[in-house]
């Protein structure tokens, strides 16, 4: 930029003429001839010259395709022109320059837009946005100048100014005259009215903001937005302003710019006041009242605003405004009185807080309250009065750190995690065994999930409503520090945590949502107690307490104690070093012995002072090699004996006699004890009981050896009230071992690092001499309380010297359980068989119950099950580890209802086992008593007997429930025993002409072999007409497992027709393995019934070779003659629907059917038909058919089947012509679909009657009923006929089947 600051340059005066025209740059003409002339005439003003020069530059740059440079240079030009005019002190009417700049900006922008496309412009916003924002700025200042922004509109002065400005614009240039959006027109329009100005200003502002945002200049966009907000505020539309102010404030807060924050907040406060957002306004006011960047007056004003609101709104009590406290006051410290924050129930506790008010004036608060969280500590045994008073010795003052940087301020309202340390003590030795970190205010955190978008709004503060509070009413907070005291009377024992601090004035509450660090007080309740102590023992205590009260007296005592300690420490160090040297193989034997002796000497010398002990780590003395539990699964019942055998490698050169070797044990009652049942333990713990301890390979660094390993467990806990998970953590169960280790010793080999686990229970073994090398030591203990015991420390002591292995790793544990007595009854075999004596094993697990003499089991008898009493019943008593302890006899006494088994005396945790024989009486299986099924069964049996045998292998079962009363329980145990019937029986009726035979098949389903004897079949129907002749062998029969035996009887009768047979089959059976049984067994029985077995018809089929030939040939038609003969006169069984009667003459309808299932024969023509059979003895019906053999050889004859042909309805049958029925049999064939071909041939034959057949088509079909097979005897079954091959070659077929 050229320098125009030269002093005394005459030519400059020329440019100092007052500016009279401000019509902006003209860039649309390549050369502005007007201005050129002015310059030539030396009449050009500064602006004219500048304009002309820039127009020329612009033309060139655009010609060079550098439009963005035009924008950049334009901005510089405009800035420097303004500066130059200022420097030259040119008189410019107010607003004139603004007009010129505005017009020029728009002119440049329009010029650039004119030569670029949209996409180019969009991608180069960064270059043009400066002009846009400059134009916006100028338009804004013009608006303010001309009174276009004010509420009332421009006054006369403003109007005059506007007119002057418009005059300076002159007339519109001709080149833009017809452009609608020319800068000139825009400006003129904008200045013409308030509305037009608003429109143009908003357009421009929004465009600028949009452009800034699009190129990521967020801060600039917010700044323009703030101007816009100011405009809106002037225009009385605060709701529009608020968005922009919030946006800007958010940005400033995020980046921590204090002055812009204060300024914007002030604007926002005004805006919120107009909008009536009371809470937000109060919040902003409180922030401003505490803002040190404001003047005192301003702060007071905002503070007063809050107080005014508070005093005004007292009449509507329901409405509360909750504001965060950090803007109002700051909690500095908190002090409990009494200082240990422990009070008994009914005692008075006072809490004193110091609050720094940040308000500029004293503020009167109606009430200040601290809300308190109350929890009853679970491990309340800890919180005894003594414990509390002893352990809580803080000075009762809690200091709250000032939040140093308030940025970002929005974070303040988040509640902090209330993390507590958790401690739990083991119930047995009261040692700390659990620590963890838990969060106790999850519900406050979960509430915070919904995040508020607005920035300074107080919605983020959750007021802990329901909680108990400490209150203090009517407090005036002076600016600066104030001290407030709360008093409370303790009511319920427990722990109280101060949670929230809330200062309220009328409806306005300032809330500190959480107090950090935590402030707690405890309330305890104490049972009255009486202590009686000997005075003598108390003496030292008394001295102690007096000492502790008087610090001057205390001093020498402490010194003495220290000296004592020092001496013992020195001594311990020496012993430690000695023990290390004694085990050092680099020394000679003599030297080692010497050092060893030193230790022993010390041990033997010091036996007189029993109180003093020297504790040394064991690793230098001996090494634990392995550990073995007996029983090996390390599970014992209560009262049982457990032995622990350890192998210790002594590293001393000589045998060392130890007074005692002890293992200290940590006892814990498992919470999830349901898992630790005796069964679970015995099943899951199957290790061999040996634990090997690895030798520490390298003793360097030796000092590491004594560090106990962390025992870490997961922990979950649920709150008792709502069962929600409120605690998780990782806890360490051997904290007491670790915590003791905190004090580190500087000297290396000193033993001070070894902690002796004093109070724990121990396993002891006294008077042991450790030889050099491996030694085995056995500890015995009797288990007392159920639970899990962990072996912790190994301690070998000789006199006052203790060698301690501070931890055993890997973990060695044993479990002690307590078990309820139990009774188990189970069959000895896989399944119990009914009918024969079976053994059942009874097992009594005594558990903690001792079985005394006279204790007995009372079994209630079941009718169908016998308990067989033998005189020589034996019971075996096993110990818990399945070792046989003793034999005992068992007495079993049976009465009608109860069988009593007197148990032998057995100690607790033993098992009594004995066997009893039971016999389930076979209940006769119900066989088919119904005639139909019997008949059908018979057919099956006749045809393929093998299939039925295979069919089913499932044995029928019967359940017997026995209730047993045990001596240890008032409840009786119910035991179900399932017996299986070993046999399955079927029966069949076999025919030979009119002779009948009954066949009974007995199938053995069991795994046992049986002997069968005395088989018998009797007719239980008591009819003398029937006789059964056995055709069986009389001797015993052997039936193997899974096999069948058949029995046959011939059935004869004296009166025809024979009645139905009710048969009962019975047989004796006994297991084949046992020669003789002590008791007689009940026979096996099977009952059945057969009916209608008398033969009514015989069917005889015969095939005759064609006439003139001797033998049948394949391919040639042969004659099939079927004769059906009735054997009896009318019988009862014939009286059914098929029977027709006319003049004492009875006939029945039968249907025959020739079926050849093996395809040996081709039946030519009709294969089936219905015949009317006279019901007279020896009535014979003959049917002639033609069949053709298809194969050569001995062919079985085709089957001829006979059915009873029942009319569909008896009423119809009487009306219809019998003949038509016979001939229209095609209708009746509803059974065999494969006979369709034949049927069609029948039809063709009976074509004469086709009309008649069609008549009956719509009628229901007649039915076929199979004749009971016992009633039909096929005399040609099994006959064969020889067929020879035909001589014609072309029909020769060879088939191998």
């Amino acid at each position: 930029m050229m320098c125009v600051c030269l002093d005394g340059a005459n030519w400059l005066t020329f440019f100092c003429q007052p500016v009279k025209s401000w019509n902006g740059l003209t860039l649309r003409k390549p050369i502005d001839m007007e201005k050129r002339e002015l310059i030539q005439r030396q009449e050009a003003t500064l602006l004219d010259l500048r304009s002309y020069l820039f127009a020329r530059q612009c033309t060139l740059l655009l010609f060079l395709q550098r439009p963005w440079e035009v924008a950049q240079r334009a901005l510089e030009l405009l800035h420097s022109c303004v500066q130059e005019l200022k420097l030259l002190e040119v008189s410019v009417p107010p607003g004139a320059l603004d007009c010129w700049v505005f017009l020029s900006c728009l002119e440049v922008l329009q010029r650039i837009e004119g030569c670029c496309d949209r996409a180019q412009i969009d991608s180069n916003i960064a270059h043009t946005v400066g002009l846009w924002s400059y134009a916006t700025e100028k338009l804004k200042s013009l608006g303010y100048l001309c009174g276009l922004v004010s509420e009332k509109g421009p006054n006369s002065e403003d109007l005059n100014r506007t007119v002057d400005l418009l005059a300076g614009l002159g007339a519109e240039r001709p080149e833009t005259a017809n452009t609608a959006q020319s800068p000139y027109k825009k400006l003129k329009e904008a200045l013409s009215s308030v509305e037009a100005f608003e429109k143009h200003y908003l357009d421009l502002s929004h465009a600028t903001i949009e452009m800034y945002t699009s190129i990521g200049r967020i801060r600039s966009a917010k700044f323009v937005g703030k101007d816009l907000a100011e405009f809106y505020m002037k225009k009385k539309s605060p709701q529009k302003a608020e968005t922009y102010l919030q946006g800007a404030l958010k940005n400033y807060l995020a980046e921590g710019w204090a002055l812009p924050i204060t300024h914007t907040r002030k604007q926002l406060a005004e805006c919120q006041k107009h909008l009536g957002q009371i809470e937000n306004y109060l919040q902003t006011s409180s922030l401003l009242a505490s803002d040190h960047h404001l003047t005192e007056e301003e702060r007071k004003y905002f503070c007063q605003e809050i107080l005014n609101f508070a005093s005004e709104q007292t009449d509507s009590p329901g409405h509360k405004v909750v504001l965060p406290m950090h803007s109002f006051a700051h909690l500095r410290d908190l002090r409990f009185t009494p200082s240990n924050a422990v009070v008994h129930v009914g005692g008075v506790l006072s809490v004193e807080i110091t609050v720094c008010s940040q308000m500029p004036v004293p503020v009167h608060m109606d009430q200040i309250a601290i809300s308190v969280h109350f929890s009853i500590e679970k491990n309340s045994y800890r919180k005894t009065a003594e414990w509390l008073t002893k352990h809580k010795t803080s000075n009762g003052i809690i200091n709250f750190p000032m939040e140093t940087s308030p940025f970002p301020a929005s974070q303040n309202s988040l509640p902090a995690l209330e993390l507590y340390e958790m401690f739990e003590r083991s119930p047995s030795d009261n040692s700390l065994n659990t620590t963890g970190i838990i969060c106790k205010n999850v519900h406050m955190l979960l509430r915070r999930q919904e995040s508020s978008t607005a920035l300074d709004t107080p919605s983020g503060v959750a007021l802990d409503d329901g909680a108990p509070v400490l209150k203090c009413c009517g407090v005036t907070l002076e600016p600066g520090a104030n001290t407030i005291t709360f008093r409370t009377q303790a009511k319920e024992p427990g722990t109280y945590t101060l949670r929230q601090l809330c200062a309220s004035a009328g409806p306005v509450c300032f809330v500190l949502p959480h107090l950090y660090p935590l402030a707690q007080y405890d309330v305890y309740s104490q049972e009255p107690q009486l202590h009686v102590e000997p005075l003598a023992g108390k003496a030292s205590d008394a001295e102690h307490s007096s000492l502790s009260n008087d610090s001057t007296v205390r001093e020498p005592f402490v010194k003495k104690a220290k000296l004592c300690c020092w001496q013992s420490l020195e001594c311990a160090c020496y012993l430690q070093t000695s023990s290390l040297l004694a085990s050092d193989h680099h020394l000679t034997e003599e030297e080692r012995k010497y050092f060893c002796q030193e230790i022993l000497n010390f041990a033997s010398e010091q036996t007189d002072s029993p109180g003093h002990k020297v504790v040394l780590p064991m690793h230098s003395f001996a090494h634990l090699r392995d550990l073995r539990f007996t029983p090996s699964n390390a599970v014992v019942h209560v009262g049982g004996v457990l032995s622990v055998e350890i192998t210790v490698c002594s590293q001393m050169p000589v045998p060392v006699h130890m007074d005692q070797i002890a293992i200290s044990v940590h006892f814990s009652i498992e919470k999830n004890s349901y898992r630790k049942t005796a069964e679970w333990l015995t099943k899951h713990k199957t290790s061999n009981g040996i634990i090997n301890f690895p030798m520490e390979t390298s003793p360097f660094p030796a000092s590491q050896n004594s560090l106990p390993a962390l025992e870490l467990y997961e922990m979950f806990e649920r709150s008792p009230s709502d069962n929600s998970l409120n605690t998780t953590g990782i806890i360490c169960k051997n904290v007491h071992m670790l915590l003791r280790r905190q004090e580190s010793s500087t000297a290396l080999d000193t033993p001070s690092g070894v902690a002796l686990d004093d109070g724990a229970p121990v396993l002891k073994c006294c008077g042991v001499t450790l030889e050099p090398g491996a030694n085995t030591i056995t500890f015995r203990t009797q288990a007392k309380e159920p639970g899990t015991y962990t072996l912790r420390q190994l301690c070998a002591s000789a006199g006052p010297v203790c060698f301690v292995l501070p931890h055993l790793y890997p973990l060695a544990q044993y479990d002690v359980y307590s078990q309820e007595p139990q009774l188990h009854v189970e069959p000895l075999a896989d399944s119990l068989l009914a009918g024969i004596p079976q053994k059942v094993k009874f097992t009594v697990t005594t558990g903690h119950y001792t079985v005394k003499n006279g204790d007995s089991l009372q079994l209630s008898n079941v009718e169908a099950m016998l308990i067989l009493c033998h005189t020589e019943n034996k019971a075996v008593i096993y110990s818990n580890t399945r070792e046989k302890a003793s034999d005992a006899s068992l007495r079993v006494q049976s009465s009608d209802k109860v069988t009593s088994i007197s148990l032998p005396a057995a100690p607790a945790y033993h098992m009594i086992e004995f066997e009893l024989e039971v016999l389930s009486l076979p209940s006769a299986p119900a066989a088919g008593g119904e005639g139909g099924s019997t008949m059908l069964g018979m057919t099956e049996a006749q045809r393929k007997p093998k299939d039925t045998q295979k069919a089913d292998h499932c044995m029928a079962t019967t359940d017997h429930k026995v209730s047993i009363e045990c001596p240890w329980s008032i409840y009786s145990t119910v035991i179900a025993l399932t017996f299986s019937v070993p046999f399955r029986t079927t029966h069949a009726v076999l025919s030979a002409g009119t002779r009948k035979y009954i066949q009974v098949c007995v199938q053995n389903l069991s795994e046992l072999d049986f002997r069968l004897s005395d088989s018998d079949l009797v007719d239980t129907g008591d009819s003398t007409d029937l006789q059964l002749l056995p055709l069986n062998t009389k001797s015993q029969q052997h039936i193997c497992s899974r096999q069948s035996v058949f029995f046959v009887w011939e059935l004869t009768w004296t009166r025809e027709p024979p009645p139905s047979l009710r048969g009962r089959f019975s047989m004796e059976f006994r297991p084949a393995s046992e020669e003789r049984l002590s008791i007689s067994l009940k026979p096996y029985t099977y009952e059945f019934q057969v009916e209608n077995f008398f033969t009514l018809y015989t069917v005889k089929a015969e095939i005759l070779p064609p006439a003139g030939t001797e033998l049948c040939r394949t391919g040639s038609l042969c004659a099939l003659e079927v004769s059906i003969t009735r054997l009896s006169d009318l019988l009862e069984v014939d009286r059914d629907e098929a029977l027709t009667e006319s003049d004492e003459y009875f006939s029945t309808k039968l249907m025959y059917e020739v079926v050849d299932n093996s395809s040996n024969w081709a039946v030519c023509g009709k294969s089936s038909g219905v015949i009317s059979m006279p019901v007279v003895a020896q009535a014979t019906h003959r049917v002639h058919m033609e069949v053709m053999p298809l194969f050569a050889g001995y062919l079985p004859l085709p089957d001829v089947r006979l059915f009873k042909y029942l009319p569909h309805h008896s009423a119809h049958s009487s009306q219809l012509d019998a003949d038509s029925w016979i001939e229209n049999d095609s209708l009746s064939v509803d059974k065999h679909v494969d006979d369709q071909l034949d049927s069609s041939s029948i039809k063709s034959r009976g074509s004469v009657h086709s009309a008649a057949s069609s008549e009956h088509k719509g009628l229901p079909m007649p039915r076929l009923q199979a004749l009971p097979p016992g009633q039909v005897f096929n005399s040609s079954t099994g006959m064969q006929i020889l067929v020879i091959p035909s001589k014609d070659d072309h029909v020769l077929e060879v088939s191998v089947t």
Partner: protein
């Protein structure tokens, strides 16, 4: 001179590896302003603010005509847009060798805003009256270097927590002298 400064700066950063991580995140805004229109005495403000790149809060900010401080705060804050733009435009490859001086960020009618970014991304911003023609690019550059040196001294103070507002008296007096000299 500049190289030397860079060297010194780098070595101090490398010397304290742990400290350098914190320093890297700091940003510094220095604002200097001369307003001759207020009178011949000329006043200036220097402000400086640290914070992670996202935060951009002032480590130190000072303006001499205190009555118009707010305006300059807004101006410096807005100028950070351009600083960010310039830094990201420079690319990552040249971070080590790049020029620390960013030049004129943007002109306004009355003021010129200059920027400077250290290797650890601490930003210095200076606002000068545009009528003050005595200040050319070279002067601005050397002022920034002075500022940077002084800032380095502040950072080397073991009692200074990186990220805290600068309250060093030495830094303060250096800024004051610079502002008086300029006017």
């Amino acid at each position: 001179m500049e190289g030397g400064l860079n060297q010194a700066w780098k070595s101090s950063v490398r010397g304290q590896a742990s400290a350098s991580a914190t320093v890297k995140r700091l940003q510094e805004v220095v604002c200097q302003e001369t307003a001759s229109s207020r009178g011949p005495g000329g006043e200036r403000v220097l402000a400086l603010g640290p914070g992670p790149p996202e935060e951009n809060y002032p480590l130190y900010i000072r303006s001499v005509p205190t009555e118009n401080e707010l305006k300059f705060h807004y101006m410096v804050h807005t100028s950070l847009d351009v600083v960010d733009e310039k830094i990201s435009a420079m690319g990552k490859a040249l971070v080590d060798q790049r020029e620390l001086y960013l030049g004129l960020l943007y002109p306004t009618e009355d003021y010129k805003v200059y920027g400077y970014v250290t290797n650890s991304k601490v930003k210095f911003v200076m606002v000068v009256d545009s009528s003050n023609t005595a200040l050319r690019d070279n002067e601005i550059r050397s002022m920034f270097r002075k500022l940077h040196n002084s800032y380095t001294d502040v950072m080397c103070n073991p009692f200074y927590n990186p990220g805290d507002r600068i309250q060093s008296r030495a830094f303060d007096s250096m800024v004051t002298s610079m502002m008086i000299q300029v006017c």
